[in-house]
Amino acid sequence: MRQYWIDVCSRAVPVALLALTMFAVTAGVSGAHGGGTPQLSDVEAGPFRLFVWTSPEPWRAGGEAHVTVAVTSLDAAGQTIPVDDADVAIELAPAGAPERAIVLAATPVAGAGAGFYEGDTSLSQDGAWDVSVKVAAAAGTGDAGFVYQVMPGSQINWLLWLGGALAVLAVVGYLGTRTKKAAAGYTQRAVQE
């Protein structure tokens, strides 16, 4: 075992590092995965046309809540163009309690095209939430909103279950290997005798 690690350190690490560098260069890494449930599509907000997606589906109390916004406008020819100089704020408040609003300053999505912004938060309670997107850019300001029904927090810890299942598999595999080794040893002894 010790020899194994000596081998690894002296010879293989440079090759592995080369491989890692290759991945890092090739990946051109983007944090965003894209997609999500469309909440607003091509909605007029002042001089802008807004598109909004939410993920994961559904939002749960205490869980992650991600909002992606595309800010676009129409040029003289009627073509959709992205707006990349916008300040985008996402406001989330429980229905009927605007004083408890959470305000997110959305940031441009890394690795995506111009005009895409995103923000993350966690919502404390289930039920209806008012979500509004406020955009300010050189062309003017605009806002649009929708209502999202947040579900109660999940009662099942999937990560724990997955970890437990993997641990059981590992133990079963280990025991199976030991049984086979013991059987092989018994056969060998029987042959020798």
Partner: protein, 287 residues
């Protein structure tokens, strides 16, 4: 940064690198860990990173064309390249001895793992499983759902990739070899059999008068094309890329067949030249 993809790729790349170096230290004449196989393996992993971590992944949620490109990279580029890298025996030398013994025991004799793998790696099953996964995900319902729900999207990519690994297993004849190798003509028929279902699906998508994947109606059309035009080109990519890839494989297989035949004849000629008496005797007996 998508760590859930980067970390497995780094682990797979590192294990292969360790195994490759260890095998090369034992002998440079062995054919398990050769330079071209290493290049194939890392190009395969890099193509996985490109498909899942580059802007292609993000753009796939905005354009069907890019989503198709992403899927084609996963199933038509990454999977066969990784198999060509001969990953199993090389990786076996890259893991610690106890783990290696564990894997060997799990695959030895009549173990459950071996029986399971032998069952699912039968060429007909590999073909059917991949074709079912490939066509099934292109149905409008699952496809739109994958775009909306992230874990379904991840499941789609995982099943595409694993299905493609199954599909390419008998074609590349990668280790562990649990069945008798398919003859080259068999491999040619195997890949050609995939062309009609793929072409029909691609043609149907490209020629549909309506937008099939309605999710794309809800995204801004920032690239100067409508959802229908996007779908037309996306369907054509599906149709042409996969069919072209299969034809490439057939050409390569034919090339290998002719090369082997030529080599076999040359060996026979040398043998006849070296042992003329034996052959003369053979003729006499035959006569």
């Amino acid at each position: 940064m998508r760590w859930e993809i980067l970390i497995p790729l780094l682990i797979l790349g590192s294990i292969y690198a360790i195994g490759w170096v260890r095998l090369r230290r034992q002998s440079r004449r062995q054919k398990v860990a050769t330079r071209w196989r290493m290049v194939a393996y890392y190009t395969g992993l890099a193509s996985l990173a490109l498909a899942l971590m580059s802007p292609i992944d993000w753009l796939g949620s905005q354009l069907l064309i890019m989503h198709m490109v992403q899927h084609k990279i996963l199933v038509m580029v990454s999977a066969p390249l990784i198999w060509l890298g001969n990953p199993f025996p090389v990786a076996m030398w890259g893991i610690p001895r106890p783990a290696r013994n564990g894997v060997t025991l799990a695959l030895a004799g009549d173990s459950l793992v071996r029986r399971g793998l032998t069952l699912i790696s039968q060429p007909a099953i590999c073909w059917l499983v991949f074709t079912f996964i490939y066509l099934g995900w292109h149905d409008a319902g699952p496809y739109d759902l994958a775009l909306r729900v992230e874990w379904v999207h991840n499941l789609e990519h995982i099943t595409f990739f694993l299905g493609a690994m199954l599909f390419w297993w008998p074609v590349v004849n990668g280790a562990p070899r649990l069945h008798k190798s398919l003859p080259y003509w068999g491999r040619i028929l195997y890949v050609l059999a995939f062309v009609p279902p793929n072409a029909i699906a691609g043609f149907a998508i490209a020629n549909s008068p309506d937008v099939i994947y309605t999710y794309y109606n809800s995204v801004p059309r920032l690239f100067g094309m409508t959802a229908l035009e996007d779908q037309m080109i996306g369907g054509a990519i599906m149709w042409v890329w996969s069919s072209e890839m299969m034809i490439d494989v057939v050409v390569i297989m034919l090339g290998v067949m002719f090369y082997r035949e030529k080599k076999h004849k040359a060996r026979q000629a040398v043998s006849a030249h070296t042992h003329p008496v034996h052959h003369a005797g053979h003729v006499e007996v035959a006569g």
